[in-house]
Homo-oligomer: 325 residues x 2
């Protein structure tokens, strides 16, 4: 691969000048610029980002740690994060923790070694200490791991309220919530909290089921739903922790001969494409995923530039009515 020296030689200038042209710094005559550009062209020259990063001590790479890209919510989020990183000239290093603490810790090390400029983390393991220690721009999703560290999330409590209120208004009298493990100190637990409080205030019977581990185990959802209908056959309203769970709820209703929304009404959370893929389409609480992705990137960039950023970044949700309510 040709280096800046090769270009300099061919253009008949010094390496410094080529560097200047490359970075558009200082005063350069148009003629000289052209000469350098065509030399680059001829040699098919590409600046070595490794060397640039090393020299500038800035890599223009953002590390993204998530539990599982293959989950609808995270794949969409990843897509938006990539999009906005790209728009800002940043590259994205993808770290799929797979809910594995060891892997996550190793990835944190890898990212530090790779001198990424910042880390966006949407992973849900309990290893928060490792994040606190590293002195790097950081943004988290749905998780407040330390007072100073900025987080992005949707308005989980309002979302929970909207969903529960809708179910009650539609006439549901036996409500169920199905979600992930509540002991994790996630902000999404506020959805559950809102569910409980809203139902209680309205004097509506309600129950709740959660996966007992920290995995997004699909089979766990199926088991949970089976258990729900077995223990409480009269359930007529379900608030699911995600669209994915909602889709499983819909499936479980069908399999047990329950009509949706006649017998059971269902509300999901997220607003992924899963909702409109189903028939009836799933009513959900839509998170502004693109805004969340964009904001996460922006918060990193601002920190990189030494600016201070707000800690709480709570974005509004919107009830998106489908046909399951």
């Amino acid at each position: 691969m040709p280096t800046i020296k090769d270009v300099a030689l061919k253009a008949g200038v010094s390496a410094t000048t080529v560097s200047r042209v490359l970075n558009n710094r200082g005063y350069l005559s148009e003629a000289l610029k052209q000469r350098v550009y065509s030399a680059m062209e001829e040699l098919n020259y590409r600046p070595n980002e490794l060397a640039r990063s090393l020299s500038r001590s800035r890599s223009n790479i953002i590390g993204l740690i998530i539990p599982l890209v293959s989950l609808p919510f995270f794949s969409v989020l990843t897509s938006y994060i990539e999009q906005h990183a790209y728009l800002n000239g940043y590259k994205l290093l993808l770290c799929n923790s797979q809910q594995d603490k060891i892997k996550e810790l190793e990835y944190i090390d890898m990212l530090r070694s790779s001198r990424v400029d910042g880390i966006i983390m949407g992973s849900h393991t309990l290893e928060v200490e490792a994040y606190r220690q590293m002195n790097l721009p950081l943004v988290t999703f749905d998780r407040q791991i330390s007072p100073g560290i900025p987080y992005v999330c949707s308005d989980n409590y309002t979302g929970g309220q909207l969903a529960t209120t809708l179910l009650i208004e539609k006439g549901c009298r036996k409500l169920a919530h199905i979600g992930g493990h509540p002991e994790l100190n996630l902000l999404s637990n506020l959805r559950y909290k809102a569910f409980v409080e809203t139902a209680r205030q309205a004097g509506i019977w309600h129950t709740s089921l959660h996966t007992d581990n920290n995995s997004f185990d699909v089979l766990a959802y199926e088991r949970l739903l089976e258990q729900l209908f077995r223990e409480h056959p009269g359930i007529d309203g379900i608030f699911a922790g995600s669209d994915l769970i909602a889709a499983y709820a819909l499936k479980a209703c069908r399999e047990s001969g329950r009509r949706v929304p006649a017998d059971v009404r269902i509300v999901g959370y997220d607003g992924t494409a899963l909702c409109s893929l189903n028939h009836p389409s799933i009513t959900t609480i839509r998170q502004p995923m693109e805004d969340m992705g964009r904001l996460a990137v922006e918060l990193i960039l601002k920190q990189v530039e030494g600016m201070s950023v707000p800690s709480a970044n709570i974005l509004p949700v919107k009830l998106q009515e489908g046909s399951t309510t």
Copy 2:
């Protein structure tokens, strides 16, 4: 951040020795090793991968170019690729081309500049020239862009045969295929080819609809299905180009009052989680996605190490019967 020199100073050795310990090269006494290790520990030292990469001219990064991570197939594939890259000590740079030629070309440049060790590309734009030119380990998915460049794909033709044969065996007499744009020189077009040839040989009426652009536009699928049922109301068997399309087909059947599988039978392709999420669960042609991801990574690594690799890497598919047939 502490450097190798800081560690050397603290351990009372030279930087070279620290480097040796780091890379476990040469003869080192256990005592010395320990001294260096604890110095690293104390300083919370992390080797600078940028400098290492520059020095070794090897980045241990693989670039992944795909059209859209948020699509089920690609998010699962990405997940497996990440997994196996990680297992081999490689990092993954995620490039979402979004079917945008400009963006894809810019990403190719970025990856070259970043000195990635290889590129896995599952993108579907037509810019193959750019890939041919760059002299880098490359592996493609479902696309043969040049005789010498290795590609990974499932056995598309057999998959198309299996699907079509199943529909016919189940009694379907008016078949439809719905897929992406066939002008793209994709290997997945073999599914379509198999569909046509199998139906023709069996003397079964068949038609086919394709999106006219290169996008994975969800609305396009809905329009296509609407058109299909309008023009050919008697369709009783659909072979979809992906599970996603199959899911839309299922939805379209429901919305138009068609029973599945009684009135219309559906077969998808891929074997993503979408299949089991639906009710009835979707019959599909399962691609060995993990194998494909693992193989793509392996083919890159082998090329990095100067080994020659086979050009055609066609993996077997499997009919996975759900309840839509």
